[in-house]
Amino acid sequence: AQAAEKITVGALRFTSHSPSFIAKERGYFADQGIEVEFKFFQAAQPMAMAIASGDVDFGITAITGGLISLAEKGAVKVVGGALQEEPGVDGMLILASKKAFEEGLVSPANLKGRSYGVTTIGSSFHYTAHNIADKEGFARSDIKIRPMQKVGAMIAGIKSGQLDAISMVPHIAKALAASSQVFVIGEVVDYIPDYQVTTVFTSPTVIREKSELVKKFLVAFSRGAHDFNQTLVEKKASAEEQEAMIKLIHKYVYADRPFKKAAPAIRNGAMRINENASLNLKSIEDQLNWFKSENLVSKDITIETLVDTQFVEMSHH
């Protein structure tokens, strides 16, 4: 057999990156004749940068203004889909602070004139907020966007009542709501159906020079995603199998905590990853248009600049 091809995959230590971890641990990458080395990042931005610089071959991250700009410069391209919002599966929740809740912020419809925490301008949180405004029929500028940079700061802001509302991944959101200092007032999926949250991306050079490699990567990744969905999202597997998979993921996520503490966080953080890495092009287009409408990216960018559609199935829900 041919010597395995070495590639580098950028990852964050989040449960949503599990498909790659599973594919590696279960030898799906090896089956495709590729040997994967992970490079861990603390934020999506440097990961995109590393793809651009050629230090990393594949990455998984949300569609952000930064990613689109890099695509415009010919540095990255989206080749597949990963995390997607889906009715019926626990997704991002919309939260209100206790103070705001008591003042009447009991539904996203009341967000007019309220402050809303996001990580950065042009992040998925920002996009969510504007979709709520659009759907509820008030001006986007009526929601006061507060960039907080870090999820930690957003949580501190909502808990201390300095932010009226935020959206948050389910396992953290539920934990927060349990403290009854924060109230769940809605679900993101109601406002952005079939929201394609994260995507698989690589550099145009890799596509040009090794398009076979992209295909192989996506195949292995999809197998990992399938296992993940089956075991932890749809929970079709036995308790032991679930346990085994959580153990596998624990090697990468919450590794510095004892398994007992890490397991619930991993279990609750599981959201569906697209089967076959299929990509919801419609959702990507919506997002791109939103970025354009907010002047966050250049008006000249087309969907072709951002996405290479040759590798996976494009759904158009």
Partner: protein
């Protein structure tokens, strides 16, 4: 005694034989001036030259493709972004917001820093209790504490000013403490011999003696304060150069990013120039 002297004489003679000095001619030679050097002469035309040359090189490099346009846009592109910003009318809002935070945070932080530095330099108990605390808290990254700052100081101006305040406080503490330690003890003794009050000695002998070090600390703390504008404006800031840079960064709008960074640089240059003026005025007494 005599033996010792002649020994040295011999040494010198041996040395002379070894040395390769040529016999010198019997003419008048002007005394060579050897007191030169080690004096800094102002060369006001050099800095503009350096900056112009650098920017020109960068522009040419960018245009010729020698410098990759991926992350480092040409200066002209950054200038265009700056002009756009100015036209949008937001420039003044950004600068105003940042300057306010900077001035308030840095002033309070630096003054507190001098105070604590002096305390630590003057009192054994302060040295023993506060200095380890300073050493322990200084290395804590402000960014890691942002969630705490949100709780303690809110997401308004409070947390922003606090970030800058903390950032400028610590270097000034250490610089002032170092300065106090370096004050000539003979001068303090003189003050004591004239029964100057403790407060007079501190104000008139120790503080001026530590001033060179304190000003050097101010230089450092001012730069750090500017750096921390970005960290400070991470939380809920609508306007501010830091917020502008952050947004540019997250959108990967490199032209705006460079324009913002250039603003921070210019701010740094201005502050450095001001401190230079202060040094010239306050440290005239140095030989």
């Amino acid at each position: 005694m005599q033996t010792k002297k002649s020994k040295q004489l011999k040494l010198f003679e041996n040395l002379a034989k070894k040395s390769l000095r040529e016999p010198e001619v019997q003419v008048k030679r002007p005394i060579r001036f050897r007191g030169g050097g080690f004096v800094i002469k102002p060369m006001p035309w050099v800095p503009p030259l350096v900056f112009t040359a650098l920017i020109a090189f960068w522009e040419v490099g960018s245009r010729s493709g020698f410098i990759s346009n991926l992350v480092l846009p040409a200066p002209s592109e950054a200038a265009q972004a700056f002009i756009d910003l100015a036209h949008s009318g937001l420039l003044i809002k950004h600068v105003k917001a940042s300057l306010y935070r900077l001035v308030v945070g840095w002033t309070i932080g630096s003054l507190l820093g001098v105070t604590f530095g002096m305390l630590i330099g003057l009192f054994s108990i302060a040295r023993a209790s506060l200095f380890p605390l300073v050493s322990a808290i200084f290395p804590i990254p402000k960014i890691a504490l942002l969630p705490l700052f949100v709780i303690w100081f809110g997401i308004g101006e409070g947390s922003k000013i606090a970030t800058i305040l903390f950032g400028s406080f610590f270097p000034v503490v250490i610089a002032s403490y170092g300065g106090v330690q370096n004050v000539d003890r003979n001068l303090i003794r003189m003050g004591q011999s004239f029964n100057l009050s403790w407060f007079s000695i501190v104000r008139k002998i120790i503080l001026p003696g530590a001033l060179p070090a304190i000003l050097s600390g101010f230089r450092i703390s001012a730069s750090i304060a500017i750096i921390l504008l970005v960290a400070a404006e991470m939380i809920g800031a609508e306007y501010g150069i830091g917020a502008y840079v952050l947004t540019a960064g997250s959108l990967f709008a490199t032209d705006q990013l460079i324009a913002g960074v250039a603003m921070l640089s210019i701010l740094g240059l201005i502050v450095s120039w001001l401190i230079g003026k202060a040094e010239k005025a306050l440290l005239r007494w140095r030989s």
